[in-house]
Amino acid sequence: MDTYLEIIKHSGPGRIGKFNLNGQIVPTPNFFHFPDYPEKHDIYLTNSNLRTRKNPIIYDYTFFEKNKINQSKFGILPDFSIGFDIPRAIVEEATIKSYEIIRKYPGQGIVLTGGKFPDLIESCAEEFNDRPLIVIPNGQKLAEKPHLLAETIPLIREATSPNSALYFPFAPTTLFPILAYMGIDFFDSSEAILCSTKGEFLTPRGPKIRRETESVCYCRACNGKPSEKVVDNPKYLFKHNLDFIRSIVSEIRESIKEDRLRELVEEKSGYDTRSMTLLRILDQKKGDYLERYTPISSRTVIEFISQESYNRPEVRRWQKRLLKRYTPSEEKKLSIILPCSAKKPYHKSKSHMIFQKYIRRGAKGKLGLIQEITITSPLGIVPRELEGVYPASRYDVPVTGHWTRDEISEVVAQLKDYLDKAHTNAFAHVDGRYRDICTSAGINLGKKMILSSTALKFLSEQIGDFLTNEKISYIDKIDKIRAICDFQFGLGSGKYLLPKGAKVRRYQLNYMGEQVAALNPINGLLALTLRGGDLLKEHGKYLVNISFEPKTDSIFCVGVDKAGMEIRPGDEVIVIYDGDLVGVGKSLLNGLEMTRAVKGLAIKLRHRK
């Protein structure tokens, strides 16, 4: 008789899951409906003793019927709900009373106490962190306070178990996508019900009053009738409103399956200022929280549809890793800055193929001394060896020739950081805005930044002249792959996985005759073999310690003892049992989640010893 949520997939902190209510399973994100109202749904919330529905029902006890609590059913325990804007002393008094009841009935769902005080709410979440259903209080008011939402929801999400479902009662429908993105699993149909009562018609922009709406909808209720006709008929109005909620929730689930929840949120935020405000605050203040749950790669192309896209966790992660996990090789004597191309990866584009022809010509056999860097918005800079790595090769950006001030300053910052580290001279074969960027980056450093004309021949000559006196020693081809490894597993890991003497053949990486890894052409990242795992585990990162010897390729969360906090959903991980390597594979969750969760799959092994 167990109730819990099993995570299937993440798209940012948002996740699709299976909520198991005593054996009955409901997909999440989802919404609770109420039995006293028309229309059937997957799961209900009630405080009347209804037993006629086949679908799961969660019972919501009211404060004045504490005596009726039935331990054999799953319900939400009563709390003395005092409200939001209440003096702290009174909130603390009420909290004591609620805690008494909560402690008496373990395993039941709870409403968090704490009024408007994030620290009190967080304490409550921490104390009762393994309750299967955790309810956010004062939802209607909290929805109007984006700063508080941005602060509180991540605190709650990370204080509680990943197997706990979070329920946000009375959320406005326009905020469903962003709340789901933040990690909320359950909503309810309250807006449909209350709007229907008031004669309001739900639209993507929110509820509309009858006289002002002319939108035509083709749901089962409206069926092409103008909305003025629909709102006069309570039955149709209700059906339309409920269907509207159903469709938003389905859309959210679908977008998580397609790795596009962030795009959905950006798109929907255009309809409601609250959502947009919340998104911006999250990006500004909770970027790390978002990044921790953002998968390391995806088959889906990232669409940069709005200005908010430029603040995506993937972009931040790329820039951070470039700073921390990428160092241009010491042998390089010259950096060539190039503009990006529409076709990705860049080296496949016509323009870059031509650039490379002339660069090679100018280098005259000393190509190994040259580091090619592409500048691009939004990522900033992309070193040639990393351009196959997600998301550098899997994004789509509207190109107008115009760069915003923010875009320019971002790229300039990235370029400056690179030039600082690189200790090389730099040529830039760029035009237009790119030229301004290079000037901005070059001038302050006082480096010899020569701007070349669009004549490629000139570039060749320049390169040739520059390298005349340089001597080239042996350049290891594998260095490029080592750079990818460092980027993926941390600075220095390349030397462990691919020691001196490692060879590459097509996509296979071998050392001493054994394959250690394969390069995935789709996301540009490395997939390990058992031998590779053995070598790489010495680096000490991306390790997962489990408490049993695996008999199948599925490693469940319950068996995970310890996991590196650097692990992200989709990361390649090394699985250790009793000090020995037992497998390598792909993680579904981040390090924190797989350690804390007790249900669900953590890792799918690719190779098992």
Binding site: F34, L45, N47, F80, G83, I136, G139, F170, K198, I209
Partner: protein, 345 residues
């Protein structure tokens, strides 16, 4: 809680002016049938519980004054004359009639003498339970010819609510003892019940009022008066109301309470809502408020169920909104935006 109330109270006492005059008016009420009643408000020193902090909803402590007992008596005498022929005299001192710090016992005797000279069937006063003892009651009963009725603020029969939401400072036990005592001396008890104390939602408040009425009658009250909470200045309720954490009950809730109470009990049940129809008092959408208020007053004065039935027949768009609120408010887990503010006309 007590701290917060006290600080609001202190501010209120500084900001409000003390009253100097006895106020009175005539109204309709019910004894065995409809009668003409006179209400007299005596501005005494003020409720001792209220001065120390007091109940979360009560602003009557600001009706207090510093005028002498002599002055009160003189004004009372004039007022009594002014009221003329009444069957039912209700003396309210916004505190406890038998609190000697508010009204001098000698003065009370003098007042009763005045009353005895008139042909008044019943006199009603108010008191907290702690001031009702053998001495005070027997003395009162001895000096008064008319029937004596005491109104006691039970507010709710639920000790938890009375303590944590109202901060009344008295228990069900205190009430029970006081009622038994009164009944022993043939003194009638009118139980005052508060509709919708803070922190209760609309549905809970209806159920609480009905349960409390039942309990009050079973304990021995001879009649019940339902008082919907209205938002007085410088009270904790106002503090919540300003922050949208409290909204006064709907008039539909009052109708429901009276209807269901009438079905279960035979004693007179009264409801004279103050500030009905205003945003600080019990209200509906604005359109049906007057009709309902009149219906409630008619029913209270006549105890004729036909007025209640008429009320249920009123068809206003806001009734279904009220029903939705009853059903849905409980699931909001805390703050709920009252639907009366969102009705489109």
């Amino acid at each position: 809680m007590a701290e917060t109330i006290k600080s609001i109270r202190e501010k209120g006492l500084i900001k409000t002016e003390s009253k100097k005059k006895v106020i009175s008016w005539l109204e309709r009420d019910y004894l065995d049938s409809e009668v003409k009643a006179g209400v007299v408000i005596l501005p005494t020193r003020g409720c001792s519980w209220g001065l120390a902090g007091g109940c979360t909803m009560c602003g009557y402590v600001y009706e207090s004054s510093d005028i002498s007992h002599e002055e009160i008596y003189n004004q009372f005498k004039n007022t009594l004359e002014k009221l003329g022929d009444i069957n039912y005299l209700k003396i309210f001192n916004s505190g406890s009639f038998f609190d000697q710090r508010e009204l001098d016992p000698i003065m009370i005797e003098k007042m009763f003498n005045l009353i005895n000279q008139k042909d008044i069937q019943r006199v009603q006063v108010e008191s907290r339970p702690e001031f009702l003892n053998k001495t005070s009651i027997s003395k009162a009963k001895d000096s008064l010819l008319s029937e004596l009725e005491v109104g006691i603020g039970l507010e709710t029969s639920n000790d938890y609510i009375r303590n944590n939401c109202i901060n009344k400072g008295s228990t069900l036990q205190d009430f029970t003892i006081a009622v038994k005592l009164c009944n022993l001396y043939d003194v009638f008890v009118k139980a005052y019940l508060l509709i919708k104390p803070p922190f209760l939602n609309e549905k809970e408040s209806i159920e609480d009022a009905l349960t409390s009425a039942n309990d009050a009658i079973n304990i021995g009250s001879s009649r019940v008066s339902f008082n919907p909470t209205s938002v007085h200045r410088y009270t904790f309720v106002e503090y919540l109301w300003n922050r949208h954490e409290y909204s006064p009950p709907w008039l539909w809730s009052l109708v429901e309470i009276l209807l269901r109470c009438r079905n279960k009990t035979a004693v007179p049940i009264l409801c004279h809502p103050t500030r009905a129809g205003k945003i600080r008092g019990p209200h509906n959408c604005g359109k049906c408020d007057n009709r309902i208020y009149n219906g409630l007053v008619n029913f209270s004065a006549t105890q004729d169920s036909k007025y209640l039935e008429d009320l249920t027949k009123i068809d206003c768009g806001c009734k279904k909104v009220w029903k939705s609120q009853l059903k849905m408010e409980q699931f909001s887990q805390g703050y709920f935006q009252d639907l009366r503010n969102q009705i489109h006309h």
